[in-house]
Symmetry: C2
Subunit: 155 residues, 2 copies
């Protein structure tokens, strides 16, 4: 049987994002980076992700500009690397909050949510909203996703 036929590079930003983030473990690594984890062993232990996969994902995320690799050295140890969210990585917070919002409403676990979104340093809940340029809040039904400049007959 023929090998896989190549697919054109997607033009849709959603599709392009998914192509990076959709690989197994990738978004969970990003989530845990938000939880303050930076080291290989921290991600591996907290997630239970196989070493070869973790190694590969950290490389991919670094190459994509989502994480930045920094050298560190504990006393008595060799130099090692930690992985830190970049500006681009931090912007993924909206994606995580959107997934969490949807998950809380639709995939609730028995013990309630394991994570909550709060105004930093307070107990004030924070939600995601769609807003127009004046800052007015819009409902899901008041917003459409429409073809943009990169669209042709397929988008």
């Amino acid at each position: 049987m023929a090998t896989r036929k190549p697919r054109p590079e997607p033009r849709c930003s959603i599709h392009r994002s998914i192509d990076l983030l959709g690989e197994r473990w990738t978004l969970l690594i990003v989530r845990n980076a938000f939880r303050g984890q930076t080291r290989f062993s921290e991600f591996r232990d907290a997630l239970g992700v196989p070493s070869d996969i973790l190694s590969a994902r950290l490389a991919t995320l670094t190459e994509a500009g989502v994480l930045e690799r920094r050298a560190y050295r504990d006393e008595g140890s060799r130099e090692r690397f930690s992985y830190h969210l970049t500006e681009s990585g931090r912007e993924l917070k909206l994606v995580l909050v959107a997934l969490q919002t949807w998950g809380d409403a639709n995939r609730q676990g028995a013990a309630g949510p394991a994570s909550l979104t709060r105004k930093a340093g307070t107990d004030t809940p924070v939600t995601l909203a769609l807003v127009d340029p004046e800052g007015a809040r819009l409902g899901l039904d008041e917003v459409d996703i429409v073809p943009g400049p990169g669209a042709t007959t397929s988008w």
Copy 2:
């Protein structure tokens, strides 16, 4: 070699969402459902997704309550099924807009975005924002994702 060791059911809503949405093609099918596609052949032709995968994903999304299966019958054809977003499915719009926002900023294609977010029926751009209960907009740095009731030492 042993078979795959079972992993505990995740308690984090982000993780639970990813477990459903993370399979290849799933979120793209949902995206295309937002574009108005409802029929098997529409998804298959627009996405180029293999038939067996599409069949399986539609079943999974239906079982998860994201899509609802409806019978229809063209003149001269047998009864077939179309797939429509449910309330739960429509709530995924925030996830798609979050991915699109991040993708536009970080994974831009050469031709510009293939899709845009607009106030329904207008050209008014719409963005995602984090807001407090009073409706005040918050920056990414003003918001934290913190442990919730479902968290233990691991979350």
